[in-house]
Point group: C2
């Protein structure tokens, strides 16, 4: 890659951003929209899309930019934006991306006992002590849905001659590296199994557009791979190089992050577990309550509509969302609807599902609990303690929101 | 189908079966091997494979048998066994099948409170009252793994001209009906989405062989569809007709069975929910402890190896099995191994995983708990009460086995 393509500017050339975002980290910039605005749009406008960066946003010259395809392909290739747009059929994919370190346990305060408090202290201590650690605390609004457009990764790989290796396809991986310089002086990186990239129904694309516009700089201009159904961490932004290889990515963010451990593994004992554990790829089943907020005061005696979202990974649809008004003792079924705002010709299997549940009269005080089920009969665990892990990833324990009615509060 | 193919013989012509099976129902025959023998073979010998029947085993004349392909295909077709074997490439698939109504809660006795006892009484009452109800109580050994061989369903459908409808593929279903006469005077039936049937990586085959032998009568002679990664109920035996159609199967076993409901839905309130709920297709993440048995007495102070199996649906591999010796307060990681007995050239993504966990000295008394995780970060729920459903299907709550050491017992 020619050096002129990327200017090292530190944090001096960051894009303008929405003012109402909750900023979880300012450098690198990590922020999420207000929870209450999540349900305003089924397809999130670009300026409302959560932002997850690991380094300064690269300043890339689109004119000189070339995407490199290398590794186990018949011919190493370079593609300009023009070539990616004009030499390949353009595909449109609606896909929800989500941050996977959902530490909104801090705001839920449903902990029981000293064990959890110790875990949190340990966690915060480590953030402070180890500045090379890349974790960020997130709320439940670090999720957004967009319509992405660009060539299929499959077509680009086939044009580079991947079919010559067909008998090895099941053992190969596609490695992505971004232009952004993060850990170990490397670009942010990740890999996915080649079969996901080659599966037409897998819908992996090299996105050049996001909701009909050129990719915004915060979302990977000029090219971001979008890997639907996988955790957001695999949809690498500011793509520099795509490599077909025999092994998974050795990048920090594949080898030493986004892995699940037993609750008892801590920073002192984790070392041996990085290699023993597999990288997280597909998302598990997730849900959140976007209305009401925790500790909200609800008008007494009137009908009230609880709202939220749910989604699962791997293209598995949400088939049921259960709501409880008594902390999980009894349940009712929420109403699911996929509102695609005139985009009904687009497959929604990679998108979130919105749900509503109208209550005639809210008990007070009340702990609203929500859990979702996907079409493979996966559901969310009751107790966060049982799935707690060092990096707080893939937390999908029951969502709990406490409310009181106004009269009860008086 | 010519009438000579099937003889109506009631239960007079049932096959010979292993003597050590636990018989959960004798007519129709439903039985599972001893839990302790499950781990003897990674590939279950045919005579040790669990048996799940809904009617007398049909007596089918293989010479005159023809499989019918009809519905939305360019040409309706009939295939003899010889044609299925010689006109199509034969594929070998290792796949674990499992019964999905795992009611082994009866033997675990970890219930708390009257609510559960009422549910069980209600359940048993309904079995007795309604003889048309097809549920059977099963233990955790209603699972077996075999190597199946036959043509891909994909190839058979393509030979019948399914490619003419390519733009509708995502909306079509493949319906299977068996020869066995069950509910409503129909053969046992089910359907799967067409895309599962057409996906080369989906490995759906029309099995003519099971572990190198002609299909045994109890397992679907002469042809059984094997749908890897789905619940066993979709792998229809004694196949009579395959129909490509616009809608899911309307057969009793797709419409009125194998669906998940809220814990509070009972036989009085279920009617509206059959249509509102989707049929279960992919299996969820499951595990069992095969050694020790519940209430077993363990030699005190000596090393002991806990053993079991785990599996998940949709080709999702098991990535971790956690073992607790204190009822789920603390955990250790079990050792996973896939022993394929010289069959390592066969993909194991559709098979169960065996695991071991060696304990230096077992506490006494001790509740051993086991839970598994699949590669999409799905795990098993802690409490069966929270996922209880009318038909007891897809129970994958934590597995609990209570043991004492011999000295402690004295």
């Amino acid at each position: 890659m020619a050096p002129m393509q990327v200017m090292a500017s530190g944090y001096k050339k960051e894009p303008r951003r929405a003012l109402d975002f909750t900023i979880n980290q300012s450098t690198p910039f990590n922020a999420e929209p207000p929870v209450t605005s999540l349900r305003d749009h089924f397809v999130t406008p670009n300026e409302k899309f959560y932002i997850r960066n690991h380094a300064p946003v690269p300043v890339i010259d689109g004119e000189s930019y070339k995407l490199v395809i290398e590794g186990l392909v018949a011919k190493h290739s370079k593609f300009s934006i023009w070539e990616l747009k004009n030499n390949f059929t353009q595909h449109t994919v609606m896909a929800t991306l989500m941050v996977n370190s959902c530490l909104y346990i801090f705001s839920i305060s449903d902990f029981r006992g000293i064990h959890d408090i110790l875990l949190i202290i340990l966690f915060i201590t480590n953030i402070t002590q180890d500045m090379t650690w890349y974790g960020v605390g997130w709320g439940c609004a670090a999720i957004s849905n967009a319509v992405w457009k660009g060539p299929r990764l499959r077509d680009v790989l086939l044009s580079a001659g991947i079919e010559k290796l067909e008998s090895f396809w099941d053992q190969l991986h596609v490695n992505f590296e971004g232009v952004d310089i993060c850990k170990d002086n490397q670009g942010y990186g990740s890999s996915i199994p080649l079969h996901k990239a080659l599966d037409k129904r897998g819908d992996v694309i090299l996105a050049l557009e996001m909701n009909g516009s050129e990719l915004p700089r915060d979302h990977g201009y000029p090219v971001r791979v979008v890997v639907p159904g996988y955790i957001g961490a695999r949809s690498v932004k500011w793509l520099k190089t795509i490599t077909v290889q025999m092994h998974e990515s050795t990048n920090y963010f594949q080898k030493k992050d986004y892995k699940l451990f037993l609750p008892e593994i801590d920073w002192d004992t984790v070392d041996e577990w990085w290699d023993k554990s597999v990288p997280i790829q597909e998302l598990n089943v997730q849900a959140a309550i976007t209305q009401p907020k925790n500790n909200e005061v609800i008008p007494r005696g009137s009908r009230y509509t609880i709202k939220g979202y749910a989604l699962s990974g791997g293209g598995r649809k949400i088939v049921r969302v259960d709501i409880s008004l008594d902390g999980g003792k009894s349940w009712t079924v929420a109403n699911l609807f996929t509102s695609s705002q005139g985009l009904l010709h687009i497959d929604t299997k990679w998108s979130w599902e919105f749900w509503d549940c109208t209550i005639k009269s809210m008990p007070s005080p009340c702990q609203i609990v929500c859990r979702a089920w996907d079409e493979a009969s996966n559901t969310m665990p009751e107790d966060i303690k049982q799935i707690w892990n060092l990096r707080g990833v893939m937390n999908n324990s029951w969502v709990r929101v406490n409310v009181v009615s106004d009269a009860a509060k008086l």
